[in-house]
């Protein structure tokens, strides 16, 4: 539906370099990258507020470079909400309809309807500056949706909300996308948001597209070490394939042998990605499981990370394991304790290193 074809764009000291993206109708498309990576500029280019220096932005196959933003039917919600401070909530939401020269009675109906749907009817006559962040957020969303856009662009919509409003809003977005089939493009630096919401993800680092894939793809099979670290994979090892049994490879990582599913010739240098929650910890007297990889080690450190506990184990290579608080207490996972670490070959994602070079 939206295609970025080799778009380059320089704005002052910042630049996007040869970005190609494909956003399909009905997607929840996530643009993920560190702060300051120019993710907002991508949204503004889709909305027509910037003109690419080269390359083209196609919407349904039509090159939009000469279509001004007011004719694109693409709504944009900024991180700062950008409500019009001199208008009431009603007038803010009605703005787009007025610009489209809707009859007054229809405007009143449509606006009241959407205010109701977003549970903000009681704010109808308030001015934005007197409202909380969560309330402003809802108004901004209502304002952008009342004009019935083809695409909704969201610029870090959750970063300024406190945790309570945050969770509520994620639920709203999910329902907007699932129940109403809206195409949404969402930019953020938060991998949590991407995991909770996205279908497809583009990872943008330093103005370059590093990976475009499904959310599972990006989070489980990062194309480079850089992406792996950014999406928060706890264990990333570099090693060399030393045996290839059809679709099962054996990788030597600093002398430790790890089995992974994959098919690369002997001698290939690969990055191995293993999520901390895919690794199991056992007492040294624990039972045998089907897991291919079994390492012995000693706990070096363990600490809470939100609802889970992260346990670092030295097995020759440093392995990080995520366990629930309950398991941590039951197994008494403290520093110095010897444990067995197990993970399946299918939990290890091997990506050849030379793909890194191809991307850069």
């Amino acid at each position: 539906m939206i295609e970025f074809d080799n778009v380059s764009l320089t704005l002052g000291s910042f630049s996007l370099k040869n970005i190609s993206l494909t956003i399909n109708e009905g997607d929840y498309y996530f643009v993920l990258g560190p702060s300051g990576a120019g993710k907002t500029v991508i949204l503004e280019a889709i909305a027509g507020l910037h003109r690419p220096d080269s390359g083209s932005v196609l919407v349904r196959g039509e090159d939009l470079c000469n279509k001004p933003p007011e004719k694109r039917k693409i709504s944009l919600v900024y991180q700062d909400y950008s409500l019009f401070p001199h208008m009431t909530v009603f007038d803010n939401v009605a703005f787009g309809l007025k610009m489209q020269k809707c009859p007054k009675s229809e405007i009143r109906m449509k606006v009241d309807d959407i205010l109701d749907r977003f549970n903000i009817s009681h704010l109808r006559d308030r001015h934005p500056l007197t409202m909380s962040g969560g309330e402003q957020q809802r108004v901004a969303l209502a304002r952008s949706l009342v004009v019935n856009p083809k695409i909704l662009l969201l610029d870090e919509p959750l970063s300024a909300l406190d945790p309570l409003t945050h969770e509520k809003f994620i639920r709203d977005l999910r329902s907007l996308h699932k129940e109403q089939g809206l195409t949404i493009v969402h930019v953020s630096h938060s991998r949590q948001e991407a995991l909770s919401l996205a279908n497809n993800v583009a990872v943008i680092i330093d103005g370059r597209l590093v990976q475009e894939d499904t959310v599972e793809g990006v989070f489980n099979r990062p194309s480079t070490e850089e992406v792996g670290r950014f999406v928060g994979i706890e264990n990333i090892f570099r090693g060399r394939v030393n045996r290839n049994d059809d679709s099962l490879i054996n990788v030597d990582v600093c002398g430790v042998n790890i089995s992974a599913v994959g098919n690369y010739p002997d001698g290939t240098e690969v990055n191995l990605f293993i999520r901390g929650e895919d690794i199991m910890l056992f007492q040294t007297d624990g039972a045998v499981t089907s897991a291919r990889n079994t390492l012995e080690g000693e706990i070096t450190d363990s600490f809470h990370v939100g609802a889970v506990v992260r346990v670092n184990v030295d097995c020759g290579i440093p392995v990080s394991v995520l366990v629930t608080r309950q398991s941590s207490e039951e197994m008494n996972l403290i520093r110095g304790k010897k444990v067995i670490v197990r993970f399946k070959a299918t939990a290890v994602h091997a990506v050849p290193v030379n793909m890194d070079a191809a991307e850069i």
Binding site: E44, E70, S75, F95
Partner: protein, 273 residues
């Protein structure tokens, strides 16, 4: 949204000495005002006589009116220029900005000469305009054009600063919602910089009615208040002219007080960061 925090601070030694040194400038202004006020108020009948002098009243009305006229022209042609300067970058922008500022940096008599030789009866613009009945030398249009020239940078720079304070995001959102750039300008940018436009107008008006050098060169007559004060200073002496000056100060204070009061009701949303 973030209101600037008040900064009532317990004064330390540094702040106190800074206030004492810096206070010298304030003291100079206060002393100058008090000095004049004490002298003038000792002879109230004289003030009343001067204040009811038809020549003085006519001159004050002429000055304020011509200033108002210049501001009206600025509103129409200065506002679009301020918007273009606030929102776009183009090659040579620095030169345009320097040209906008030029009238501030030029000595007033130089500005006066520039305006005079352009608009005098034999001038490049003065001659053809005189043909169609608009004469500038020693005439009301000459006063307006001199005031316009010297006050334009004040208006344009204030309004530009106001436009720059309106977040670009608001305009962008308005456009994605279907507003053309002009509609976004009228409905978003203008209302949110109402106070800057008003205050810029006051500032430019103050500069316009205060101009002397540029005005006398093209129009010694009809006498604006500055010319009248200077005329009385050189002919009637200090007592005459200082009373006229005092009356003008009162009139200005009154006008500014009213205008500032009005501006409170304008652009409550300008404060948005």
């Amino acid at each position: 949204m973030v209101k600037k925090a008040k900064k009532y601070i317990f004064p330390d030694r540094c702040l106190i000495s800074f206030s004492l040194v810096g206070g010298l400038i304030i003291a100079l202004t206060v002393l100058a005002l008090m000095n004049m006020a004490v002298k003038e108020l000792s002879d109230i009948p004289h003030i009343l006589k001067v204040a009811s002098d038809a020549k003085v009243i006519d001159s004050i009305v002429l000055t304020m009116g011509a200033g108002f006229n210049a501001i009206l022209i600025l509103l129409l042609i200065g506002t679009p220029l301020a918007y273009v300067l606030a929102r776009t970058d183009f090659p040579g922008k620095g030169i345009v900005e320097s040209l906008v500022d030029l009238p501030v940096m030029l000595p007033h008599t130089v500005a006066g000469i520039l305006v005079y030789i352009l608009f005098m009866s034999r001038g490049l613009l003065g001659a053809p305009l005189e043909e169609i009945g608009l004469s500038f030398e020693d005439a009301y249009p000459g006063i307006v054009v001199a005031m316009l020239f010297v006050s334009s940078p004040y208006y344009i720079n204030s309004v530009r600063a106001g436009f720059e304070k309106v977040p670009l995001h608001l305009e962008n959102v308005a456009r994605t919602l279907g507003a053309t750039r002009f509609q976004a300008f009228i409905r978003i940018v203008l209302p949110l910089s109402a106070r800057h436009i008003f205050n810029g107008s006051i500032l430019a008006w103050g500069r316009a009615i205060g101009e002397f050098a540029a005005v006398i060169m093209i129009a010694y007559y009809p006498m604006v208040i500055s010319t009248l004060i200077y005329y009385r200073f050189t002919t009637g002496g200090i007592k005459e002219s200082s009373t006229v000056a005092f009356v003008m100060i009162i009139a200005c204070l009154g006008a500014f007080f009213v205008l500032r009061y009005v501006s409170r009701f304008l652009g409550r949303y300008d404060d948005r960061v």
